[in-house]
């Protein structure tokens, strides 16, 4: 354990590199390792190989890494600030808001590829702010926040079902596909917008590591120890919420990553957030890159939904760790 505590950055970076290499090398088009290297070095004239690596596998792997990292970091932050081990990035109505925003856009007929994510982002932020605004009347305690999140989420899903009922079958199918989460439409244009946003949000959260540590001791203790609870909480909620909204806007709702990866990292490396947050980012990225590669490879050329793979991979591993460690983090 001690050794792990010192070497984790190298170990996790190596794992992420391995996962990315694996993800780049698997798929229905057979590309050997030497061909892959030739393509990456640029000395090949095989147009299909180039297209497969640069226009399909690479953007998709990068998106999986970004989404996995963002969801895990946001999950860790929400679990700390809400003092609830069941918190995930979607708990404060972000998922419902994003889905409602996206489906509203589809329903209104804005099918433009770049408009959907914007609508989802706006919807998610709107839901988060609504939750915060209502909960603030009760000094924003974590119970009130969670309760408001659940209610706003229910309201959003009711409106969503109503909109889906109103729309024609073909549009409904597209919306439902989007809601189940997918990485298939990775696009560099979107990546270059979202990546900086996620990075900035991550840096804000990382710099708030000390506050997050204090939050896990309870709000009163945190206040006694000199933390401006209200302001710190707002900062964390906005950063983690915006991060979640951004990746939900790109990849739909991918479950399980944001709930379990922080727990797994906490079990292995301990609860201190200055380490938990970056480690969660790397572990979450590795995990989703692997899950996506498997979802493309297991039944190739057919693809299975990535959410199925994340749950099938993550749940047993998580249960094993819980059993082996015998104490909840």
């Amino acid at each position: 354990m001690r050794r792990l505590a010192r070497f984790w950055p190298f170990l996790l970076l190596m794992l992420l590199g391995g996962a990315l290499a694996f993800s780049l090398s698997v798929g229905p088009v057979p590309l050997g390792f030497s061909e892959l290297l030739a393509i990456l070095r640029g000395d090949t004239s095989d147009p299909t190989g180039l297209a497969v690596v640069y226009r399909i596998r690479l953007p998709r792997s990068l998106l999986a890494a970004l989404v996995g990292a963002a969801l895990s970091v946001a999950g860790a932050a929400f679990q700390a600030v809400l003092r609830n081990p069941l918190a995930d990035p979607y708990i404060l109505g972000v998922s419902g808001g994003a889905a409602l925003g996206a489906v509203t856009a589809i329903w209104l007929g804005f099918a433009a590829a770049l408009l959907l994510p914007v609508a989802a982002f706006v919807g998610a932020l709107f839901a988060l702010l609504l939750v915060y605004w209502v909960a603030r009347a009760h000094r924003g305690s974590s119970h009130t926040l969670i309760l408001c999140g659940v209610i706003v989420g229910s309201l959003a899903s009711a409106l969503l079902l109503f909109l889906l009922w109103l729309s024609p079958a073909d549009q409904t199918r597209a919306a439902i596909f989007w809601l189940t989460g997918n990485l298939a439409f990775a696009d560099y244009r979107l990546l270059q917008w979202i990546a900086p946003l996620v990075l900035v949000a991550f840096l804000i959260l990382w710099s708030a590591s000390r506050s997050l540590d204090l939050f896990t001791q309870g709000e009163e203790t945190a206040a006694d120890l000199g933390l401006a609870v209200g302001r710190a909480r707002l900062l964390v909620l906005v950063a983690a919420g915006a991060m979640t909204a951004a990746v939900v806007a790109m990849a739909g709702l991918i479950g399980f990553v944001g709930l379990t990866v922080p727990h797994i990292v906490r079990l292995l490396l301990g609860p201190a957030h200055h380490r938990l947050l970056p480690a969660s980012a790397l572990a979450g990225a590795t995990f989703l890159v692997l899950a996506d590669a498997l979802s493309r490879q297991l039944y190739a050329p057919a693809e299975i939904p990535v959410g199925v793979v994340t749950a099938l991979l993550g749940a047993p591993f998580f249960l094993y760790l819980l059993r082996a460690q015998r104490t909840l983090p």
């Binding site: 229905p28 297209a51 079958a169 073909d170 199918r173 190739a300 050329p301 057919a302």
Partner: protein, 297 residues
């Protein structure tokens, strides 16, 4: 004992009034009554087309909101979705026969309708032959046998003609796109797969766990079909636009993205003959003769 049973059966069948028929549906259930159904509700767009072609428009009292052809179907009362129709509206119309599809609606709907005491025929055609069979069965059930026999024969003759005229031609490797978000393609055991085969093509989607698997673009690049079938549904993104972003595909370079009206090739009904003609034209530049009986041989 056996003879007595046989005698009883014979007597019983003689006692049935003229026009009565008992047929077996796709689930093997016997469906029939003493007289041909007079108040039919169709929950299947293709069956709606078949019933109109069998001149049963007076007996057809309601359809779904997806029954868009022929235009007279749009004037019929509609009882909503094919998977979850309004049971109350349906029962209020007092149908003596409801026709549903095995793949579109679940067994719950079937048992609900049976509980309401409504006769249900379940259709599940997945091939051109199956469609012809369905037409004949509906003809027997609804006392329209001659008309049904002619319709079914026309479909089968078109298929025979297509097979004969494309014989000896190089098989065209075809990918049939069903929708783009996600990218769903037609696999084996589907009507599209059957039509591609009849039209002198080979479906590049091989054995698969799902009849309509979801593919990534990389799978399309790996299969590199000679021709890609794009059949835009109204309100859906055009699959041709998606593929044109990928000049690495032979079908795109050779300008072989074939667009055929989705209802002609995805609805197991009388218009399959139109779809088949369009496919043979697109795959092999062969025009099937009109009428198809003059195909020769």
């Amino acid at each position: 004992m056996f003879r007595i049973l046989l005698l009883i059966l014979l007597l019983a069948s003689a006692a049935l009034p003229a026009g009565a028929a008992v047929v077996t549906d796709a689930l093997g259930r016997p469906v029939g009554s003493e007289r041909p159904p007079q108040r039919i509700i169709s929950l299947v767009p293709a069956v709606t087309e078949i019933l109109f072609a069998l001149e049963l428009d007076e007996q057809l009292i309601a359809v779904t909101r997806f029954c868009t052809y022929p235009s007279a179907a749009l004037a019929k009362p509609n009882i909503g979705d094919y998977a979850s129709p309004s049971l109350e509206a349906l029962a209020a119309l007092r149908p003596d026969l409801v026709i549903m599809a095995a793949d579109a609606a679940g067994p719950e709907l079937l048992s609900r309708l049976e509980m309401l005491g409504i006769a249900v025929f379940v259709a599940y055609p997945r091939s051109l032959t199956g469609t012809a069979e369905l037409i004949r069965t509906l003809g027997r059930l609804c006392d329209r046998q001659p008309r049904a026999a002619a319709l079914a024969a026309e479909l089968e003759q078109t298929a025979r003609c297509a097979r004969r005229l494309t014989k000896g031609h190089q098989k065209v490797r075809v990918l049939a796109t069903v929708m783009t978000e996600p990218l769903v393609v037609a696999g084996p055991q589907t009507l599209l797969d059957d039509l591609i085969d009849i039209a002198g093509g080979v479906n590049v989607v091989g054995a698969s766990l799902s009849r309509y698997p979801t593919w990534g673009l990389e799978a399309v690049l790996a299969a590199d079909p000679d021709l890609i079938l794009v059949s835009p549904h109204p309100g859906q993104e055009d699959a041709a636009a998606l593929y044109r972003n990928w000049p690495e595909l032979s079908a795109v370079r050779n300008n072989r993205l074939l667009s055929v009206d989705a209802d002609w090739i995805q609805r197991p009904g009388p218009r399959l003959s139109l779809g088949l003609r369009a496919l043979v034209r697109g795959l092999h530049s062969i025009e099937l003769p009109q009428p198809v009986t003059s195909c020769g041989g």
